[in-house]
Subunit: 345 residues, 4 copies
Amino acid sequence: MNVGIIGANGYSGVELIRLLHQHPFVQLKYLASHSSSGKLISEQYPHLQGIIEDRIGELDINEAASKIELMFFATPSGVSKDLIPAFLEKGITCIDLSGDFRLKDGTIYEKWYKNAKASDENLQNATYGLPEIFREEIIGSTLIANPGCYPTATLLGLAPALNNGLISGENIVIDGKSGVSGAGRKASLGTHYGEINENMKAYKLGSHQHIPEIEQIISHLSGTDHPITFSTHLVPMTRGILCTIYADLKIDTTTGELLTQYEEYYQNNFFVRIRPLDVWPATKEVLGSNYCDIGLKVEERTNKLIIVSVIDNVVKGAAGQAVQNMNLLNGWAEETGLTFSPVYP
Amino acid sequence: MNVGIIGANGYSGVELIRLLHQHPFVQLKYLASHSSSGKLISEQYPHLQGIIEDRIGELDINEAASKIELMFFATPSGVSKDLIPAFLEKGITCIDLSGDFRLKDGTIYEKWYKNAKASDENLQNATYGLPEIFREEIIGSTLIANPGCYPTATLLGLAPALNNGLISGENIVIDGKSGVSGAGRKASLGTHYGEINENMKAYKLGSHQHIPEIEQIISHLSGTDHPITFSTHLVPMTRGILCTIYADLKIDTTTGELLTQYEEYYQNNFFVRIRPLDVWPATKEVLGSNYCDIGLKVEERTNKLIIVSVIDNVVKGAAGQAVQNMNLLNGWAEETGLTFSPVYP
Amino acid sequence: MNVGIIGANGYSGVELIRLLHQHPFVQLKYLASHSSSGKLISEQYPHLQGIIEDRIGELDINEAASKIELMFFATPSGVSKDLIPAFLEKGITCIDLSGDFRLKDGTIYEKWYKNAKASDENLQNATYGLPEIFREEIIGSTLIANPGCYPTATLLGLAPALNNGLISGENIVIDGKSGVSGAGRKASLGTHYGEINENMKAYKLGSHQHIPEIEQIISHLSGTDHPITFSTHLVPMTRGILCTIYADLKIDTTTGELLTQYEEYYQNNFFVRIRPLDVWPATKEVLGSNYCDIGLKVEERTNKLIIVSVIDNVVKGAAGQAVQNMNLLNGWAEETGLTFSPVYP
Amino acid sequence: MNVGIIGANGYSGVELIRLLHQHPFVQLKYLASHSSSGKLISEQYPHLQGIIEDRIGELDINEAASKIELMFFATPSGVSKDLIPAFLEKGITCIDLSGDFRLKDGTIYEKWYKNAKASDENLQNATYGLPEIFREEIIGSTLIANPGCYPTATLLGLAPALNNGLISGENIVIDGKSGVSGAGRKASLGTHYGEINENMKAYKLGSHQHIPEIEQIISHLSGTDHPITFSTHLVPMTRGILCTIYADLKIDTTTGELLTQYEEYYQNNFFVRIRPLDVWPATKEVLGSNYCDIGLKVEERTNKLIIVSVIDNVVKGAAGQAVQNMNLLNGWAEETGLTFSPVYP
């Protein structure tokens, strides 16, 4: 099967290239990027020398449609919503890594993203591509809204507890921590090594665009609408997201009992791993892989459940999840091309 | 004035050496350490070559008492409680950087620290050395229990809001993040570079020994007793603590109004800096200094106050605060020897 | 084909596990480690949870020989020389990642390693497993001495120039820089995060045990015996070696001409990539992969050739090269199981 | 004494602010920067909140001359050469941290810097501000060319050996390694955290503008003209330079004898520290301080001297050395305001 990438020059794009190169069933036949059009991808990324020597082109929809059957959009917010309709018309399956099609209510998108929304029709057609929760809906879809990095870690951490009615949807606090690759490859003072190294900082408190995305799925899982308290922090590392989630328990229980429920909930899910009692996950333990590792702690003194969930933001939080979705869309085993181990140390 | 350090070979000890070397009113006359007795401090720490060429000795209380008037204890938990009584008897003022004298209730100490407690008499005599809250009590004390690193950042972040009745003491969630120096200089798999670099992890969820210390002072500030939910994380950096604190607001207010109240509360406190609206602090902005920087955000959707508080764990979280306490004890300006700027970048 | 690892608990061992897990033709059937015998490998390395759940055993040569046909030795210096003879007797092919069989002259080994040497017979039987130079010798061997990390980077950088008589074997200066994983997983002050982070230091100047290994192969390539000047430095990163090599040119030439000669020399070598003019390699561009990337610069003012060579010390410098050797020994394509891209960023 | 800074917004500028704030004899009265004119310095650098609340201005020479007696120029190459003549005319002492006045031969400047040169008159008037070598010349000068970071580390490492005729000026190889702050605060792909972290790379091989600066002073010290071989590498850390220098010994000697000669050469120099036998310096051991630490190794097998020299590039390699020069110019003790310890860990 032939596939392409628009936005090939960013960190999500280049990670797609790495993963698709290892995938047994696809050929990468089309690479486009506005900012680096005309260049070899290996000039932009010398680690690909001798592996991928394709040239990046300026996007031409007709050319693309003639070459590929499925397109990945690794573009900044507000770009894919204008491109995807034409691809869908030509029968190309679209997997969008940006936030343009994640929120069903376009007015909420416009409020949080400060961009014009996609058409309501396409917003309704789009499927939220978190396979562990929406596997059935993904199969048969033609437009996948690949989840955000923080929402992926958060929702996989919350889903069993919300689904089984163990915690309240009210009063959920999510403390997110991310490596710097989440900010993309664009140079800025905020990603300058001298400003990030040996430093940790909070950012976008109360205004991060992933807030409504998380709330939308919490509402789906719990059947109730409640705002969340969500904060984000930048950590001096390149890859990795760790979300610490605090929720009010509705029942008397123990960490051990909850671990069992989590293991059962995820028993047929290749990419979710539940840590044993008194072990909590670390971001490096998923580095380079599509795993999401989860640890739990019942804080009996306050009757809170503390959930720790980690992913590699570039893999399970972006490119890896997109490949997982592609596998589902094509009826391949979900883990095809993604069974490699994390890179440690 | 002549002072000494017991536990000179650890990270808190060597930071005391750095700060005392720059202090205009003291002479460092006594260095003891069990693990490195007989060695030059500059052998253990070559950065001190030509600056401090003293030899570290095995502790001898009589010798120490003949040389110094004030002793800093930078020892592991459970050590200073056995040493300090003898020093107090000889009229030596004691500043303890460990947790041995912080908790008024010795049974709570024994439960969380798994060590035998100090005598009740000395626990009652000890003053909790957080100058911004207990300045008056510190002056005139002879035994200072220097606060822990997480409690310092957390309590300075909470004090104005609790003191002014803006938030409830119930349902406080504290998400702590620390650099690795907090674990001390002892080699272990947990501090191995290959395990920490490009990694973030949670640890000691629900069981960190700083929990009762924070609760004790919250109770003092708010007049009510409530357990806190507290988690801790290791960040790939050497110095720095960032605590993100979530509390339920009791009033309708705005971030701007709270910033004003915080500025007023801390107006005569040299080492606390309140960030302006929509600016949040970063650990590197206090690196090497005794500052505590605080940022606020009212999350109106959930009526929570989010407080971000940062310190250098080795300075305001340990050695710097100890020097600040020494200054108060001696009637010197509180900031004496501590007015230098953070090191940035 | 069934294979095993002795020393499975170290960084080279666990990297072998990662690579063998992805290899299409082998099954990992035996894991031994003295220090972690009886434990699950996934307890020691949680990133392997759900991937490899085997238990590590205490070495039992008969049991091992009944289960596997090829054994990897990822043991400290001085261990494999005592184990390998028994394995060879039982007809097990041995690939040794330690330095025990690299030096043909056992007295030199004893001088630099401060250990007793292997038997002269086995030293002569062992083949130095640098496939780009000794491919023919490796095929058909039963005992491979897998090269050291610094020698791999250095010798691949020097081979074309020495082989083609472009540089003198005299007066070669090699300035090596390594990430910390090269020191292994054992906890020590020298690998403590607080001592390594934001720090660079020189170590073992003039006494590194890789010096005679490099000299032995330079002598083979150039036909002359000359000592090298070799220094090593620790860099605050986990993976990666960069060697900068300075050699006296014997001819008048240009960087461009030398690049052409290097490309020709390595044209049928999958894992060596020559950077174009005025581009020099970076360690991250090979991270997680078996590539060795090389850049050149003719310094016309001094008539020196400057060679920059990078590898991932844990892959091409250890486990990856061992797998490459295994492929050659078995007549498989040399790159089998090693064709994945580096992980970037 | 009143002083000012032009280029206050860069890393060298802000380090000057830190050092001058701690200096007992000066007042910082003028801050100019083209890029951040009109802003508070504490907006650009929040770590200075409450410490320096001055506003940065657009440069006005008359205003500046009315306020200050000495000006620091922390500007990019090619800027100060056009500004300094007017300041000199007004009787303002000038300390230039850029390369504009370091090379006596303006045509060499133009070749390596690709900028127009300063006037020959001012080039001749300028004094190369490396106090350990040119102390007498600095006293009484009105225009100081503050040395580059690599030249400072390299020349302090070479001076005793060249001065005492121990090594040849021919065939010197210098392998330089630098933290990222040397590239300044300007955002670029080359300073992006994701590109630098867990990475080491070579850059500017054979073309670094510090080459002629080093050669000029080697020629002064040795009395002979020889080109050097010089390479530079970027290390994943913020501060610090480590230069490893390889030179041909002209005599039979031992490391111990050379250490003695180095100690004697630097015996009255506050900021140079010679490490004992078999100890080599690390960049973190000088972090935040004005020290230069040097270690030696005689490699008897090749009769080379290996010199390892480390500085903090922002301090001894820029702002600290500038303050040291200011002290000399004013007849103050050379170490005034610079006696604090490095920050460790």
